[in-house]
């Protein structure tokens, strides 16, 4: 697996498919996957195949909270305000997919966790990067 902005997402930006506005925008989610999943830039949509399973983890993942897109210099960016987290879960995950559940679960980006991350009866948290021109979760330069 590899961290990537999905190619289909880039194309869909040209057709105004995705709306990241805080008010009235689409609903985005992030789902966690096992090492058996093959997520990369060619991923086009969410699938439950090889998604992690656990008590207190709902299939489809965590619903993200939109933040109005912004700019910094010549860079436009989008991110979310709440770090995804799951409490009292037991699973092993290697990657996650951000997708648009308002638009046929179209894929947005893949996050790679750098190897298997095992959670046991505990909390799994993904700390999203700062919203700057060089680190924001989604950037158009």
């Amino acid at each position: 697996m590899t961290q990537a902005m999905c190619t289909s997402f880039k194309k869909e930006l040209f057709t105004a498919t995705h709306n990241f506005a805080a008010a009235g925008g689409d609903t985005f989610k992030i789902a966690c996957y096992t090492a058996s999943a093959t997520l990369d830039a060619t991923t086009t949509a969410y699938s439950s195949t090889n998604e992690v399973t656990s008590a207190n983890y709902t299939a489809g993942g965590f619903t993200l909270t939109n933040v109005d897109p912004s700019t910094s210099g010549t860079t436009a960016m989008a991110t979310f305000s709440t770090n995804p987290s799951w409490v009292n879960v037991t699973f092993t995950t290697t990657q996650a997919l951000i997708y648009n559940s308002s638009k046929s679960n179209k894929a947005v980006a893949v996050l790679d966790f750098g190897g298997s991350q095992a959670v046991t009866a505990g909390t799994f948290t993904i700390n999203l990067p700062p919203a700057t021109a060089t680190t924001a979760l989604l950037r158009l330069v």
């Binding site: 990537a4 966790f113 750098g114 959670v119 046991t120 700390n127 060089t134 924001a136 330069v141």
Partner: protein, 79 residues
């Protein structure tokens, strides 16, 4: 990076159910850092007397994945 929350005194959820914090040996072993993420893991090993057969067993593990930076439409290596 958002620091992990501390376990509060009292009962802690584990694979054995809720156990007192004093019955847990809490460790934060070093985790490998990659180009994309930092990892913090907190591991709790049972050391209490209520479940002697589980002494030394990992009964809870929390993980924090900090994404260093997101994705640019320019692809890896782009701003």
């Amino acid at each position: 990076m958002v620091a992990p929350t501390q376990l509060q005194d009292g009962m802690i959820q584990t694979t054995l159910g809720e156990v007192p914090l004093r019955d847990l040996d809490v460790r934060t072993p070093p985790q490998p850092e990659t180009e994309d993420v930092w990892i913090i893991a907190r591991e709790c090993y049972y050391k209490g007397d209520a479940f002697p057969e589980h002494k030394g067993t990992l009964v809870r593990r929390d993980v924090w994945v900090t994404v260093k930076r997101g994705q640019s439409a320019a692809g890896k290596g782009g701003l």
